[in-house]
Amino acid sequence: MEELTAKTNDGMLELDFDPKLAWALNNRHLFPIDINKADKEMLLRVPGLGVRNVKRILMARRFKRLDFEDLKTFHIGLNKIKPFIVAERWTPKNLLDNADLAERFRNRSKQLELFSS
C-alpha cells in the first residue's frame, strides 16, 4: 500500500489510472520486463497481467519463447502491456520513455455534472 501511494502527494490513489498502472508509470526504470525470463513477482507487477495470465505465461514459456500471438491466445489485452514488456520479436524501444505515455492511458471519460448551471 505504501508502495502504491509513495509518489502521490496526499497518500491517495491516482484517480486516472488503476493502481498497478500508476505504480508502473512511476517506476519506469524497472521496465520493460522480459516475459520469457522474468520471475513471477515481476510478472505480477506488469499492468494488464493478472494472476491467471501470469500462471499461463509461466506454464507456456517452458516450451517456447512467447510472442504476441501466444499472448493473444491467452486473451491478454496487448495495448496495455505493450510498453512494459519484452517478448519474442518485440521490444518497446523508446515507447516506455515517451513523455505522453501516461496521457495514452489517462481515463478520458468524465462524470457529467448533475447540477451544472
Binding site: R56, M59, A60, R62, F63, K64, L66, D70, T73, F74
Partner: protein, 485 residues
C-alpha cells in the same frame, strides 16, 4: 485423402472406435477428413468407407496404446461441441499425444487452447441444461405419468446430460426434445432419438402454480438485476414459463418495498407473549431476596448464569422441608438426576439412602441439594460421562446455595465431596485429609466434611471401600446426633 464418417453426432464411442483404428494404422491427421454424412466431399477422392469391425478385432488385440485420463475426459466433452471440426481436432491432439506427453501444458498451442475452450463451453452448456429445463405433463405413454421438456442447447450435449435426468427422475416417464437430438425414458428404458425442430406447444396446470410460487418467493427488497441476469441469461428465457414475470416483478419492486416500509405497525404474533414470559422468568434471577423455596426453585429452573444450562436437560433443585435442621449438599446432579429432575436418585443416591436409613435419617426431615444445579458431562458414544464442574461454574451456583441456606436455616450442613465443601467454605483440600472435620460458612453455619457417595462407589479395593463406607456412616451418625442435641 481419406474420409471417415461418424454416423451419430457427438457419439464419443464411435469417434473413439474410428480414431483407434486410424491410429493403429498410423494415419496422419492431415490425410483424414472427418465427415458427418455419407455424401462425397470436395476433397475426398475416395468414397467414404466404413471400417469392417470383424476384420479389425484381431488387429486390435495385438497393438494397444495409452492416453492420459485427462485426454479421455476432455474428448468426451469436446466431441459434443457444435463445431464440425471437433472430431478432427481431437484426432490431431490424439496423434500428437503419441509423441508428446506434455501436450496439455502447452496452453499457447492453438489446438490445445481451442480444445480447452470448447470443453469449457460444453460443460457450461450441460450445466445450463440441468438448471433451465422445464417439464410439462403430457398424456402417459406407458404405465406411469409422463413429462415432456423442450430445450435448445448450443451443443450436442443430450447424451452427456441424459444420465443426470435418468438418476433424478427414474420414477416417471419423460422425454426431452431438442433440435440437437432427443432422449426418451419410457418403461425404464433410455433411448436416444431424432432431433426435433419445432417447439411443441403445451402447457399444464402446474405452470400457473409454478408461476404463482415464483412470484411469491421473489423478494423485492433484495433485487439485484445484474446478478440475476448473469445467473439466468436472457437466452434461456424463451423456454422458462416464469421468465415472463421477471420484467413485471422488477418494475414493481421499488413500489413494493416502499409500501412494505409504510405498512403500519401490527400487533405481535401470539408466541411473543411466551417469549416475554420467559424473559420475566429470567429477570427473577437477579432478585436479592426470595420468599419461599418454591420461589427460588422457579428461579433456578430458568437460571442461565453459566453455560451448563445449555447442555443439561433441566436444573435439579433441592428437595426436603424448609424447617429441616440438617442440610445435605452434594456435588452436582448425575445422568439419572438430570433426567428425573430430583437430587440423589441415581446409584450414588441409593448409597446415600441406604446409609441414611441405617443411621436413622429420614429424607423427609432433611433438606438435600447440590452445589451445582446443572449436570455437566461429556458424551462418550451414547453415554453421558460426569465431568467435574469448573471453579467458575461452582461460584455462579453458590448464589443459589447461599439463598437456600438462608431460607432453610439449618443447624448443620453436611458437605459431601470436595466441590460442596469448596462451594460452602472455600476450602479445596482433598477430602481424604479432612474427612469428618467441621468448618464454618461465612454466616457461621457449621459444615461437616465427608466423602461423596459416588466416591465410595469408585474405590476399587474392597477393604478401603469398607473403611470409607464406615467413615461416611460415622459422619452421618455424628451429624444426626449434633442436630438432635
Amino acid at each position: 485423402m481419406k474420409t471417415v464418417v461418424l454416423e451419430t453426432k457427438a457419439d464419443f464411442e464411435e469417434w473413439r472406435h474410428q480414431a483407434r483404428q486410424l491410429l493403429l494404422k498410423g494415419e496422419s491427421p492431415e490425410n483424414i477428413l472427418w465427415s458427418s454424412s455419407l455424401a462425397p466431399d470436395l476433397f475426398g477422392n475416395e468414397m467414404p468407407t466404413l471400417f469392417d469391425n470383424e476384420k479389425q478385432t484381431g488387429h486390435q488385440k495385438t497393438a494397444t496404446f495409452f492416453v492420459p485420463k485427462r485426454f479421455l475426459n476432455m474428448a468426451q466433452n469436446v466431441i459434443c461441441h457444435h463445431n464440425e471440426d471437433s472430431a478432427a481436432l481431437l484426432y490431431r491432439l490424439l496423434y500428437r499425444l503419441q509423441t508428446d506427453n506434455n501436450i496439455f501444458e502447452k496452453i499457447h498451442d492453438s489446438d490445445v487452447a481451442t480444445a480447452l475452450s470448447r470443453e469449457k463451453a460444453v460443460c457450461q452448456d450441460i450445466h445450463d441444461m440441468y438448471a433451465f429445463l422445464r417439464f410439462t405433463e403430457v398424456p402417459p405413454l406407458g404405465q406411469r405419468r409422463c413429462f415432456r421438456a423442450w430445450y435448445e442447447p448450443q451443443h450436442f450435449i443430450i447424451r452427456k446430460a441424459a444420465p443426470f435426468f435418468f438418476r433424478r427422475f427414474n420414477n416417471m416417464d419423460w422425454l426431452i426434445l431438442t433440435p440437437k437430438g432427443s432422449v426418451i425414458y419410457v418403461d425404464e428404458k433410455l433411448t436416444f432419438g431424432e432431433p426435433v425442430e419445432k417447439k411443441p406447444q403445451n402447457r399444464d396446470q402446474m405452470e400457473e402454480l409454478w408461476k404463482t410460487y415464483f412470484s411469491h418467493i421473489f423478494n423485492p427488497a433484495r433485487l439485484k438485476v445484474k446478478t440475476m441476469r448473469s445467473l439466468m441469461p436472457k437466452k434461456f428465457w424463451g423456454n422458462l414459463p416464469e421468465a415472463q414475470l421477471i420484467d413485471g416483478l422488477i418494475s414493481k419492486a421499488e413500489r413494493r418495498v416502499e409500501s412494505m416500509e409504510n405498512q403500519l405497525y401490527k400487533s405481535p404474533p401470539l408466541f411473543h407473549q411466551r417469549l416475554r414470559d420467559k424473559v420475566h422468568q429470567t429477570m427473577n434471577l437477579n432478585r436479592t431476596h426470595y420468599e419461599s423455596i418454591n420461589d427460588i426453585n422457579k428461579a433456578i429452573k430458568s437460571c442461565n448464569h453459566c453455560p451448563l444450562h445449555c447442555y443439561a436437560t433441566q436444573a435439579v433443585c433441592g428437595e426436603g422441608t424448609t424447617s429441616a435442621n440438617l442440610m445435605i449438599v452434594g456435588e452436582q446432579p448425575g445422568n439419572q438426576e438430570d433426567l428425573a429432575g430430583r437430587p440423589f436418585v441415581g446409584p450414588a443416591g441409593q448409597v446415600f439412602d441406604n446409609t441414611a436409613k441405617k443411621v436413622g435419617i429420614k429424607r423427609s426431615e432433611i433438606y438435600i441439594t447440590n452445589a451445582v444445579k446443572h449436570f455437566k458431562y461429556e458424551s462418550r458414544g451414547k453415554r453421558r460421562i460426569h465431568k467435574k464442574a469448573s471453579r467458575n461454574e461452582i461460584e455462579h451456583c453458590r448464589w443459589w446455595l447461599l439463598h437456600e441456606i438462608q431460607l432453610v436455616k439449618p443447624k448443620l450442613i453436611v458437605a459431601m465431596g470436595k466441590t460442596a465443601l469448596f462451594s460452602l467454605t472455600g476450602i479445596s483440600s482433598p477430602i481424604t485429609q479432612i474427612n469428618g472435620k467441621i468448618f464454618a460458612t461465612e454466616n457461621k453455619t457449621p459444615v461437616l466434611s465427608t466423602f461423596h457417595p459416588a466416591y465410595l462407589l469408585r474405590i476399587n479395593l474392597k477393604q478401603a471401600q469398607h473403611q470409607a463406607m464406615a467413615s461416611f456412616e460415622q459422619s452421618l451418625e455424628f451429624a444426626r446426633h449434633k442436630v438432635n442435641e
